[in-house]
């Protein structure tokens, strides 16, 4: 890396789910970014990217929330989120949201051009490679729809995991299929979501992996919650925790020791 350590400033977009449900993912992201020589800043006026309102048809609230995000992250060279879904919201949907507002459109496009999903940022922008990380486990990786189709973050997590000592990656069948989370969808249409997550779980269990990882906490909470409900015991972690070597604590929904 040509840039000096601590010289690259990265603003972390924590995401609301990581903030509330799994702060360890945020700390793993900070650790990884710092390992690649970034100085991490966490703007304290951030809340959420606005997807709950956006996907519920509340365009006005979404625009207000998006405008606040744009303001909170103004001036940083890079903005990084440990989520394909939230990064996709900012990079693909913010510009569309302000297509009729010339001033904010420019700002939205500017932010979109500076925003990255964590794993692709580490790999593609920072040339990161985990070193000295060891994890003796058989793992399967779930592609969130946002990472798979919107952000095209598919090869990067696999490439980075390949540097982790003793880790064996086993791919599940039907990787293209959605897990059934879909934000408020999984609450409003819980029976349909149940069928979708059950098919996903069938394929995950068939790999005989002992761990599941993904780049989006929404999918992980859905899949982990269903795995436990059905009595399965599989350790479920965010990809940032795997890459940062922070795998000792309990996984999502796992009993505390």
């Amino acid at each position: 890396m040509s840039e000096k350590p601590e010289s690259v400033e990265v603003a972390l977009f924590v995401t609301c789910l990581v903030d509330i449900n799994r702060p360890s993912v945020g700390f793993a992201a900070v650790k990884l970014l710092e390992e690649t020589g970034c100085r991490v800043v966490v703007p304290d006026t951030q809340t959420c990217c606005g997807q709950p309102a956006y996907n519920s048809g509340d365009r006005k609230s979404t625009q207000q929330i998006a405008a606040a995000v744009i303001k909170a992250f103004k001036g940083f060279k890079y903005v990084v989120a440990p989520s394909g879904s939230c990064a996709g919201m900012i990079t693909k949907h913010y510009p569309e949201l302000f297509k009729d507002d010339p001033d904010l459109l420019l700002d939205a496009q500017d932010l979109a051009a500076r925003t990255y999903e964590l794993v692709s940022f580490l790999k593609d922008v920072r040339g990161f490679k985990p070193e000295g990380v060891k994890l003796d486990a058989k793992i399967t990786y779930h592609d969130s729809c946002a990472n798979l189709r919107e952000m095209k973050v598919v090869d990067q997590p696999r490439a980075l995991m390949s540097h982790i000592e003793d880790l064996e990656l086993v791919e599940a069948d039907d990787r293209e299929a959605c897990c059934g989370f879909g934000g408020t969808f999984c609450i409003k249409y819980s029976e349909i979501s149940e069928e979708m997550v059950d098919r996903k779980i069938d394929n995950i269990l068939a790999t005989k992996a002992d761990m599941l990882a993904a780049g989006d906490l929404g999918c992980l909470m859905n899949i982990a919650g269903r795995l436990y409900r059905k009595g399965h015991n599989m350790k479920v972690l965010h990809i940032a925790e795997i890459l940062a070597g922070m795998t000792d604590g309990p996984g999502l929904g796992e009993e505390r020791r």
Partner: protein
């Protein structure tokens, strides 16, 4: 057909418990998706052809009036007739008038979604004219008195055992008194029964995959050859098609055809591609004496120039439903109107009203697979979101859902308050879950916990922990 989109949730719930349907839908999920993927990867220029097909359809929509009049002129020049109909009532009246002119008693039909849209069969039957579906899938659901559940496989929800029972019930009058369980023999039985209908029918009605402006031809693609017999044996052929099926040239047809079958069934081409250009000429050996095209608007011209215009690119291949996880879960009938799956979810609110169809655009995770496989790049998730925004504006849908979003929005717009409330909530949930690490149930989150445990938070929020850490206080 009877619109039942309002009951989407109830119908979906029933579909999820229907074991026969689960078997049938699993065939869609694995069969069609694999076939499409293979067909697409075997054709290096597939992506290029998708873009070209989209551009051809966009050009058509930009110049729809021009191409339609061009098409009409060519049909008339060949001795055919064109009937312009703005709605279902006019289309049915036009079809009935033609049938009456030739004193029709029976009508054979090729597969046509537009005739489903205008509910033609019930109408003809009420007028004393017997409609006979000749596409095997359509024939099966006609016997079962059900609407189609898929646009290219109307009876895809039926198992072989159910077809055995249907044929046993309806074919005894033709001398088939045994229950036939062999699939091939079932097809043979249907063929024999239908063969007689083809030759005695007074009128043949087909849809159209394309209306070619430069030649005045109508085009259908089928795999059974039933369309050819339907349109060439009776003395009168009526083509029923909607406006957006027009396409400028034969060259354009061949471009779009290359993505159509590949996207639909994974075939390079359908087995039969049939061009009809006017009635039988003196030198022709066979063909109909009368050739009519019933052109239906049916709400389409209203969509031009709006957020919905891109839906009119649709070539009805069915790829969106073949790849849709919600369709795989609930099947086509849950959608409650002619068009199921993602395309139906995007189109039906326009056709049957948003209040009636409000569930359809909401019952999606926005996974994006429909748009990814659409041969003409229709941005279906974007259009579903458009409907959600319309619902929100017009206050359609349950109030509590709206209140929930508004309450969340209230906090999300106030960072300091949001910090405080989320931190209290995270710590409370952590305590409540205790060593277990997850919650089995929680008030207000019944939709979540009815299906899954809720993985508990890890104590204070990230923002709170960060603020207290050394780095967090660094500016």
């Amino acid at each position: 057909m009877q619109v039942t989109s309002r009951n989407f949730k109830e119908k979906a719930s029933g579909a999820l418990k229907d074991d026969d349907l689960r078997v049938a839908l699993n065939r869609v999920k694995t069969g069609f998706t694999t076939a499409r993927a293979t067909a697409a990867s075997n054709l290096p220029e597939f992506e290029d052809l998708r873009n070209k097909s989209r551009d051809i359809k966009d050009d058509v929509l930009e110049n729809l009036d021009y191409y339609l009049e061009y098409f009409e002129e060519k049909v008339i020049a060949q001795g055919g007739h064109v009937h312009w109909c703005s709605n279902a009532t006019e289309a049915k009246a036009a079809i009935l008038k033609i049938c009456r002119e030739v004193d029709a008693k029976t009508v054979t039909k090729g597969k046509s979604m537009i005739t489903e849209e205008i509910a033609l069969n019930k109408f003809l039957a009420a007028e004393g004219i017997e409609p006979i579906e000749t596409d095997l899938g359509e024939y099966i659901i006609q016997l079962a008195d059900e609407p189609p559940s898929h646009i290219i496989g109307p009876a895809v929800h039926k198992t072989k055992e159910q077809v055995t029972e249907l044929f046993y019930e309806h074919h005894q009058k033709y001398g088939y008194t045994e229950r036939e369980e062999d699939a091939e023999k079932l097809v043979g039985e249907a063929r024999a029964v239908l063969r007689h209908k083809y030759v005695t029918a007074d009128v043949g009605i087909t849809g159209a995959n394309f209306l070619v402006a430069e030649t005045g031809s109508t085009v259908i693609v089928t795999n059974e050859g039933n369309g050819d017999l339907t349109q060439s044996l009776p003395k009168t052929h009526i083509v029923v098609a909607s406006l957006e099926k027009v396409i400028p040239t034969l060259e354009d047809v061949s471009t779009v055809m290359r993505v159509l079958a590949r996207s639909a069934t994974g075939q390079e081409m359908s087995v039969y591609t049939t061009f009809s250009t006017g009635p039988k000429r003196k030198s022709d050996i066979d063909g109909p004496e009368n050739f009519h095209v019933v052109l239906l608007d049916g709400g389409r011209s209203e969509m031009l120039g709006t957020e919905l215009e891109e839906l009119l690119r649709c070539i009805r291949c069915g790829a969106c439903m073949n790849h849709c996880p919600v369709y795989h879960a609930v099947g086509g009938h849950s959608y409650g109107w002619v068009y199921p799956g993602p395309i139906g979810a995007a189109l039906n609110p326009q056709m049957v009203g948003l209040e009636e169809a409000r569930h359809l655009p909401n019952a999606s995770t926005f996974c994006g697979r429909c748009e990814e496989v659409c041969p003409v790049h229709i941005p279906i998730p974007k259009i579903l979101r458009h409907w959600r925004e319309k619902s929100f504006e017009q206050q359609i849908g349950p109030k509590p859902e709206r209140w929930g979003i508004e309450l969340w929005g209230f906090f999300a717009k106030r960072p300091t308050l949001y910090r405080l409330v989320t931190n209290i909530a995270a710590q409370a949930l952590t305590k409540l879950a205790g060593r277990r690490g997850r919650l089995k149930s929680f008030p207000m989150l019944g939709g979540w916990t009815s299906v899954r445990d809720l993985p508990a938070p890890q104590g204070a929020t990230f923002m709170e922990q960060w603020k207290k850490s050394k780095r967090g206080s660094r500016k």
